[in-house]
Amino acid sequence: MTTTTAAPAATGRRAPRRQTLARRQAVWGWVFALPATLHIALWTGFPILVAMLLSLTHYDMLNPPSWAGISNYTAIANDPLFWRAMWHNLIIAAVGIPVSMLLALVLAVLLNQGVRGTGAFRTAVFLPHVTATVAIAMIWLWIYSPGQNGLLNYVGGFLGIPNQPFLNSPSQALPAVILVTIWQGLGLKTMIYLASLQTIDQQLYEAAEIDGASAVQRFRHITVPILAPTTFFILVTSIIGNFQTFDLIYVLTSGGPANSTTVVTYEIYETAFQQFRMGLASAQSVVLLVVLVVLTVLARRLTGGRDD
């Protein structure tokens, strides 16, 4: 999975002293990693294992699970709504993630310039992230409200644009949702980029400047490569986060109209807690896990096969 950490085999070629050193280090590696790893193994890994087993059962949470074989998985294969939800997630990811990552990178660089009021600007950009999603969704309900009491239609009225249904239209709802996800996710991405920019050794830029590199060149050849681990992080967590979107959809559209904005987590929620079919919901989650593993591997390819 990684290039830095996957080379213990190379120790054989090294001098004996280095070998013991490497061995001692390996012990320390486990010492540092073990507490967190054990905790995650117990509190996330184990429940995932249980979910995988439950995916092979019928389980309504009220009665004991009963064996179902792979019938949950065949049910998923034949469930157009689930794949439609998956498709919506893919669209949201394909449109939203590149746009918001690019915006975040540019914004982070701009917010690192020391312009007056930078603190307030940074805070403003981060505001959506700290505000409860339910409230945010309700404010967007107002912005998108189909009548003249909605902000966008109110403004559009001045420009002579007829009322748009936005969230009440099967064709406009998904783009409207994507816009909200970009807006909501921008703050976190910007902040992580900003924090990474802080760790860059400024001497690199000074040296490059002396060598006559232009601002754009310095950005491309110093900033972007150094931010590569951060970019990988943001890309992977954005993909995963995108497939976990729930609260926003729940309040904004409930997956409608006519299922035009339903997403995977929403379907999993419905299956588990509205229909009480936890076995099927677990199977859906395992399918999602597989899709995300594939996408993460692709993301690694996309960032040049490097995560570091």
Binding site: A22, W28, T37, W43, G119, A124, T131, M191, D307
Partner: protein
């Protein structure tokens, strides 16, 4: 919040004044123009990002009648600041805030220690199994919470010898309705391990080797030599962990039943009842719940150095 914004406006005014007052000096002229353009651009972005929040504040001080009137004015006709105190009195928010604070602080500290250790090991130490651990950390982020919430709940419920349970986790209620249920499952988040790993990747390995030659122990190298290099990363994780602990609500709802154990986001649901939503009070409550985070962020971001040189754009 309004303070921050007022401050921003003041600063903006000062900045504009300064630009206007500056005598013409050809060398810095172009630079100043660029700065002004940058300032204007950032103002536009900030307004777009903050506008819904400002709307939230405007909504918070309106009356229900005004909110549902045909011609709601852009600015409230009357400013009902007492909506904030009304909202506060609607539920025991002080208790909720205290609970959320304890959760947020615990998860911040535990992640700063445990997740950073793991992230450090994954980034800087070669050890057998690290690839598997890293893959596992990534994978554990990929299952939706709704899929593992029941198994997790059952684990908390069947903790042996807790809450009246016997050795086999039966007969009692385990950790339900107690602090361990709120605190323990979230002590470490894979998200922060991953983030820490990426931050540590940028630190110089040569420094570690040099320290080892100087006889520094591994713990010292981790805590005193390498970790200080990623102080912005530490701050970021601290802020994010605190924020997610503060805003957490579904898990606390499931594992508690007494209202003394509930958290702030659950308190806000009191404004969204079947009978209808008290939009103004909900917005007042949400805004107040966000204030500690905003203050924290405003303080936090000051730790970031403003470096023009840092990004090389002038």
């Amino acid at each position: 919040m309004t303070d921050v914004l007022e401050q921003a406006e003041e600063r903006a005014a000062v900045a504009v004044d300064e630009v206007a007052r500056t005598p013409r000096r050809t060398a810095s002229q172009r630079r100043r123009t660029r700065r002004l353009l940058l300032f204007v651009l950032l103002t536009v972005v900030a307004v777009v990002m903050a506008a819904p929040f400002l709307w939230m504040l405007l909504t918070a001080v309106r009356t229900p009648q005004e909110l549902f009137a045909v011609d709601m004015p852009l600015l409230p006709r009357e400013w009902h600041w007492e909506n904030f105190s009304t909202a506060l009195a609607t539920a025991p928010f002080l208790t909720y805030a205290r609970n959320s604070f304890v959760i947020a602080l615990t998860h911040t500290l535990s992640n700063l220690v445990l997740a950073s250790m793991a992230g450090y090991a994954l980034a800087k130490i070669r050890f057998r199994g690290s690839t598997v651990v890293f893959a596992f950390v990534l994978a554990s982020m990929m299952i939706p919470f709704y899929a593992i919430v029941i198994p997790e709940f059952l684990m908390v419920r069947h903790v042996p010898l807790a809450g009246g349970n016997n050795l086999f986790g039966q007969d009692g209620i385990g950790w339900i309705d107690s602090w361990p249920a709120l605190l323990v499952p979230g002590l470490v988040s894979p998200f922060y391990i991953f983030l820490f790993r990426q931050f540590y990747l940028g630190t110089p390995t040569e420094l570690m080797e040099a320290s080892r030659l100087d006889g520094a122990g591994e713990i010292r190298i981790y805590s005193r030599i390498i970790s200080p290099l990623i102080k912005p990363g530490m701050l970021t994780v601290a802020l994010l962990a605190f924020e997610s602990g503060w805003n957490n609500f579904l898990w606390p709802l499931l594992v508690t039943s007494r209202s003394e154990m509930r958290v702030i986001q659950l308190g806000l649901s009191v404004f969204r009842q079947e009978a209808g939503t008290d939009f103004n009070l909900l917005m007042a409550g949400t805004a107040m719940a966000a204030v500690p985070m905003i203050v924290l962020f405003a303080i936090f971001q000051r730790q970031f150095v403003n470096g023009m040189v840092a990004t090389g754009i002038k």
